[in-house]
Symmetry: C2
Subunit: 116 residues, 2 copies
């Protein structure tokens, strides 16, 4: 079974920005990269992915342009912007903070789930 999407929610944008920070890419490839990176444990649904692109572009975090493929289906490439890099950095920090916080909140016993 795959991971509950509510646990990933809020990370979608960061994941995409992280991948684009390595280099320009396009939707289909980003999606595959995620599936591959997690050995199929997680995948972004297409609808989610394209919603995120829209959102990130509106926010000025990414730019897009059509690739000039000679053959094959057309691809819309995305590039991260300076603002995108900044947002990405911030998100990493936030994630670390949230991570510590959640870990603290989730285990009132300190150790594991065994209360008694």
């Amino acid at each position: 079974m795959s991971i509950a999407s509510d646990l990933i929610r809020g990370h979608t944008d960061t994941i995409i920005l992280g991948l684009l920070a390595v280099g320009d890419s396009y939707g289909y490839r980003i999606n595959k990269a995620i599936r591959t990176a997690t050995d199929g444990e997680y995948e972004l649904k297409e609808a989610t992915l394209y919603t995120a692109f829209r959102r990130l572009e509106d926010a000025g975090c990414i730019r897009s342009y059509w690739g000039d493929e000679e053959s094959g289906a057309r691809r819309r490439y995305y590039a991260i912007t300076d603002r995108g890099r900044e947002v990405y950095r911030q998100s990493l920090l936030e994630w670390e903070r949230a991570n510590r916080l959640i870990d603290k909140l989730i285990r009132p016993f300190g150790e594991n789930g065994e209360g008694k």
Copy 2:
């Protein structure tokens, strides 16, 4: 500034179950416990809290009963059920898995956010 709630989303139920695993409690106190535990960095909004109680009770993870306060405002106490404990255990495991997954996805470089 407090943590983005999208990062905590999906953990609300687990946090509540974790607290109830220690012992019965009621809404107001649970809320304060969370604020205190995080030094005010995070707090559950009341609406969110009561929605969660409803959800958890419908799912059979908690039971509720009215306290018999002699004075002061009436309190509705919540108790975790066996099913609740089981769900809690599972959630802890899921969180660990998700944690690893997100950490992997969020940093395509392996180290930190610095791509170049």
